[in-house]
Amino acid sequence: MPETYDIAIIGGGIIGNAIARELSRYELKTILIEKEIEVSFGTSKANSGIIHSALHDDMRTLKGQLCLRGNALWEKLSQELRIPFERVGEILVARSGSDIPVLKKLLDNAKTNKIPAEIIEGSRLHDMEPNLSPEISTGLLAPTAGVIPPYEMTYALYENAMQNGIEYLLDSKVTKIVRDQKSFAITAGRSEIKAGYVINAAGVYADEVAKLVGANNFRIKPRKGEEYILDKRLDNINNHIIFPTPTPTSKGILIIKTIEGSTMIGPTAEETSDREDVSTSDAGLKKVLDFVRTMIHDIPKKDIIASFAGIRPVSDTNDFIIEESSKAQHFINVAGIQSPGLTAAPAIALMVVNILKLSGLNLKQKDDFKKYDKPHRRFSLASNKEKELLIKLNPTFGNIVCRCETVTEAEVVTAIRNGAKTTDGIKLRTRAGMGRCQSGFCLHHVMKLLSRELNVPEETLTKRGGDSLVVREKRLPAGRHG
């Protein structure tokens, strides 16, 4: 007999996990199904971590409304989940005279929508951003924009949801959904599940999942974005998220001040037919560098330490689609969540709860919702006093596994106990391997810890599931210099 749930969420990205955590406040039996071996391995893996001010958005769209609402929810959410969040502010700069009226119009819109914003000119602008090209003399500042570590956020939502009873079925692609009188029968990997409601948060595959029940009144048009990260050492390139003045079709390519203090440049925006194509290209890098250098001339190519690409799940309406399908009752699409999806995530979760309520689901709040109670998350950000205390409590905090990002054995082990199974899973949760040496030093340490904690041989470990084995086979007998 398949296990029966009140709700099945399909998709373990930031959106699926935000919804799961929100639903974990209620007396419901909920499962989240993810096709990858770990959560946050799809589009969320390539998120740039920006909490947008909604300055760019049209408030007639769902995107705009949820972005604005979401932005206001981030203080509380980041505190609850102990995730660093900083309102660094965004500045839209005028790269030519014709940009200035556009900025003024955006300022008017901001006033209407009660988004704090002001035009900054001349030396004041250059005091705020000393490296800005001297030709640029006008910018529009929106101080409510911020940055978070996006993967840590997704994992914190996941862990808190699990603490509160959400079940997770990973490495299980949904291939079939059959609707009968009372529920959906879902085939996911080798499992069969029944659920009263289905929430489709399948990202770039949302249209394919919807199609399984005929609820596909939309199409996903995958749009690739490439991002490039500069060495943390160059932490004084920019102080804000710097945008160009938007065109009617694009927010442009940005210079992002990440929560880590490092600078990230990108993204490109390129339609692609391949939903898995996360390759970077020479053309993409050139485009990004050429563009951002019009805003800050001196962005050094040699200090790029990492690049990645992600696929935005853009819907053919170009807006978010968050509704109970008219084709399939109790099937809720949460689709087309492109930028500003991260910003909107907490508001989207609340909206989905409301849709469920309106659809007749009985929602009864638990009285024992567990607060996220994980200890200090990041050793590297602690003061020396805090570090000493941590090491006293657990000596393996003294054992530094990743030198570039100062990640300790204790943190890696915690990540594994919280569900990390792969080297990418460790990297996204702890930052081990994200620094300038790109895992040259920590890879074998991380593999040893994964092997020890999961009790599996190292040669079976993967980078991110599937055929991504890190090494090919065991060769020499255990010991040295075989």
């Binding site: 330490i305 690049s307 003294g398 040259g440 040669e459 090494v471 090919r472 086979e473 065991k474």
Partner: protein, 414 residues
């Protein structure tokens, strides 16, 4: 925080650090502390199980671990304290070193002198910006070497090596001997990046093709690497449309080394943009008095033998510094002239003899190495970027250098 004192702290127990510790010990320094993040001393030598070490220093052909053992076996002296599995996390502006491990926690070390011997790290795929996917199966040559020789795992079976650095060529041979097929070693320059002896012994002897003036322009594969596209490059180094594909499951990058100086930046020390190491004088003292460096943290050496010789100079100088006996007669900048990428040490203080190490920008034949006022004038048949030029200056030459306004050295055709 636990606080300890040391006459000299040495960060890194590779060949340079160990040589420095032993030399300082011989000089009578009582309280020497050498730390290393690995569970055993020896540094990268432990994974270099091939031979070719010690030809200069010991006139013997040794493997890496054998070479390392020459030093490790002598570390057990009462005036040298070795702390392993210990990482230096911070160098403070007032000259203290914070170290961390899982038995002592954080420890603040107050030393009289510091020797930086952190070695170097490998440049990665990202730093040579090769586009494509990011599957598993992509390693730097040194990481693959560690998996192969220490951890006991075969990184892959069908291999392409990107870049012809020494470790890349050594790994091409090593993986071939272990049953892998190495399809190609690519090099963007018209000449190999590593030592000639490695081209012969590691590639030619094993029929591994070396593609000069070729580069990998695309990496393919979703989960694991499935292949690469290689292009012939034009004179300017840009890809031409002469390309070919190779199916492979593994890519090894051997595209250069970067002196590891993140700690040095905290003091902060002035680093050379050319060598990537701190500016140093002939005592291997940096821009901060009492802070010395040696080996690959100072600049990338060709051989471990050189790293040890520098370690001995730094160890002796640090000992003299601690005993208030480090003096300098003058301070003359060494300027890298014609066809030289760098010449180190960057400053001469009058110490003799002193060996200058230099790297040329391109290979040349029938050259002379000359300096201001012809104080140096040596003929050499071949010079190449992969092999450092050594010139040792004696007392008489230094006496002349002292009188100069500038000491410039360069390489020109004869």
């Amino acid at each position: 925080m636990k606080k300890i004192f040391a006459d000299i702290i040495i960060i890194g127990a590779g060949p340079a650090g160990m040589a420095a510790a032993l030399k300082a010990g011989k000089m009578g320094i009582k309280n020497i502390l050498i730390i290393d993040r690995m569970p055993e001393p020896g540094g990268i030598l432990q994974q270099c199980i091939h031979n070719g070490f010690g030809l200069h220093k010991f006139k013997k052909d040794l493997t890496g671990p054998e070479f390392a053992n020459h030093y490790i076996s002598k570390l057990g002296r009462p005036n040298i304290k070795v702390m392993l599995h210990t990482m230096a996390t911070e160098l403070t502006r007032d000259g203290k070193v914070i170290i961390s491990n899982d038995t002592d926690g954080l420890v603040e070390v107050t030393p009289k002198a510091i020797i930086l011997a952190m070695g170097c790290r490998e440049r990665t795929r990202q730093q040579v910006s090769i586009p494509g996917t990011r599957p598993s199966g992509i390693f730097t040559a040194g990481v693959a070497q560690r998996f192969m020789n220490i951890e006991g795992y075969m990184p892959g079976k069908e291999v392409v090596v990107v870049g012809s650095g020494d470790i890349g060529m050594i790994m091409a041979r090593r993986m071939t001997m272990e049953g892998a097929k190495v399809h190609a070693v690519t090099e963007i320059l018209p000449y190999p990046g590593g030592l000639s002896r490695n081209v012969v012994q590691c590639l030619n002897d094993f029929d591994i093709p070396l593609y000069l003036q070729h580069g990998v322009v695309e990496i393919r594969g979703r989960d694991r690497v499935s292949g690469v596209k290689i292009a012939k490059l034009d004179q300017a180094g840009n890809p031409t449309n002469q390309t070919f594909d190779i199916d492979c499951d593994t890519l090894l990058f051997s595209v250069g080394l970067i002196p590891e100086n993140e700690l040095s930046r905290m003091i902060p020390l002035e680093l050379s943009p050319i060598t990537g190491g701190p500016f140093i004088d002939d005592n291997y003292q940096t821009s901060r008095e009492g802070v010395f460096t040696c080996g690959n943290a100072a600049f990338v050496n060709d051989l471990a033998d050189y790293a040890c010789m520098e370690g001995e100079i730094a160890g002796e100088a640090a000992a003299n510094y601690v005993n208030d006996a480090l003096s300098s007669e003058f301070n003359m900048r060494v300027v890298a002239g014609c066809n030289l990428r760098f010449a180190v040490p960057n400053f001469l203080t009058g110490k003799a003899p002193v060996t200058l190490y230099m790297r040329v920008t391109q290979p040349m034949v029938d050259v002379k190495i000359t300096s201001t006022d012809n104080i140096v004038n040596i003929k050499q048949q071949i010079v190449k970027p992969s092999e450092m030029i050594e010139v040792t200056l004696d007392k008489a030459q230094l006496a002349k250098i002292k009188e100069l306004k500038e000491f410039r050295i360069g390489v020109t055709p004869r």
